[in-house]
């Protein structure tokens, strides 16, 4: 099994891309990408049956390296493109992977409405609390009082909890993982891909170049080890009080329900329409 682990990632990289990748040394996005690859590999999908869609940003560079059907779209519109892909070819496993700024700020509306519709897309949000690529501006998930290049005196706005937002918007599978817990992360991602309906995985990652530097959080290694200290497994969190959970984040599967899925409901309408058409034709013939 482990032999596959060490060679698995290389099987799914585009052979003609230049490596090493574009990310800063030690950026957790590479770890998240490895987890995604192992998750897809564990499900034994054909490369042609998977479509990975992203927007703009550091995280959105992931599909560039992946040897699937990939779409690198405009800023914030990853889910809109993915909805189109899924409706045009429901057989594809559509995975959206993008950052917090891309999915929650510019693409916020696409996000909540895709979750509400319960369309069978897997959405992976790599949350590093800041806009990395464009220069460290604050994003909707930058915690209160933390610094960003556009908040030099500290963030005065409240931030989103992406998992809560997904859950209350109607996503039927919600989970949170960290790049520190890499093998748990690929388990969560493969569960999310297998789920029928809108599934959401939040990945806590590190941006030591922007967020870490502005907030004096230290090196990549320090930021990744920080995740270990502040992550609380969902089973343990159930027994903890609100005060104990203050400042921490819960990891693992957070929510799963089953509701009618959008693409199959849409297919029912098409089938019904075809049936009526057929009946009309037969009536006219007789």
């Amino acid at each position: 099994m482990v032999e596959q682990v060490s060679n698995v990632t290389h099987k799914y990289l585009r052979p003609k891309k230049t490596f090493p990748n574009v990310w800063c040394p030690g950026c957790g996005i590479g770890i998240a990408m490895g987890a995604l690859i192992r998750a897809i590999d564990s499900l034994n999908f054909n490369k042609d049956d998977v479509s990975v869609v992203s927007g703009i940003g550091c995280t959105a560079r992931i599909p560039v390296y992946l040897d699937f059907n990939t779409l690198h779209t405009t800023h914030g519109r990853a889910i809109a493109f993915a909805t189109g892909v899924k409706l045009a070819n429901p057989k594809l496993h559509v995975i959206v992977i993008s950052g917090d700024g891309d999915l929650l700020a510019i693409g916020g509306n696409h996000f909540i409405h895709a979750a509400r519709r319960n369309i069978d897309i897997t959405c992976i949000l790599v949350n590093n609390y800041i806009y990395g690529m464009t220069g460290g501006q604050y994003s909707p998930t930058t915690p209160f009082a933390k610094n960003a290049s556009t908040a030099p005196y500290g963030m005065i706005e409240q931030s989103f909890d992406p998992s809560d937002l997904a859950k209350s918007s109607g996503a039927t599978y919600v989970a949170r993982g960290t790049v520190y817990h890499a093998s748990q992360l690929s388990r969560l991602i493969s569960q999310a891909i297998s789920h029928n309906g809108f599934s959401f995985v939040e990945v806590i990652s590190n941006c030591h170049t922007q967020y870490g530097r502005l907030n004096r959080e230290g090196s990549a290694v320090k930021m990744i080890q920080w995740q270990k200290e502040y992550a609380v497994p969902a089973s343990a969190a159930a027994r903890m009080t609100r005060e104990e959970l203050e400042g921490k984040f819960v990891t693992g599967k957070l929510h799963e329900v089953f509701r009618p899925e959008y693409v199959s409901e849409y297919q029912k309408i098409i089938d019904k329409f075809n049936e009526e058409e057929e009946e009309n034709r037969q009536l006219q013939e007789s």
Binding site: P20, G26, A182, A220, V221, I224
Partner: protein, 78 residues
């Protein structure tokens, strides 16, 4: 010890000295593997790149290659 057995042990020993292989061209010297390895298998060379120095201690726990953001580490045993 029979000769064949000796050869076997020797082979194992040789293999053991390099339980994981680092592809230096892709490595960006981020130290994640150096710091996260529970057995402290890696040291850094003069340029700051990790090198396997205590390969015998490696337990093939997979932590280093699961966390390398550059996919630069592969296991040579498993």
């Amino acid at each position: 010890m029979a000769d064949t057995e000796k050869v076997e042990v020797k082979k194992k020993w040789k293999k053991r000295s390099d339980p994981v292989v680092i592809y230096k061209k892709w490595c960006k010297a981020c130290f994640i593997c150096v710091e996260m390895c529970p057995q402290k298998v890696f040291d850094t060379d003069r340029d700051g790149y990790p090198v396997v120095t205590r390969g015998l201690d490696c337990t093939q726990c997979s932590i280093c290659w699961l966390h390398c953001p550059e996919f630069a580490i592969t296991s040579s045993e498993k």
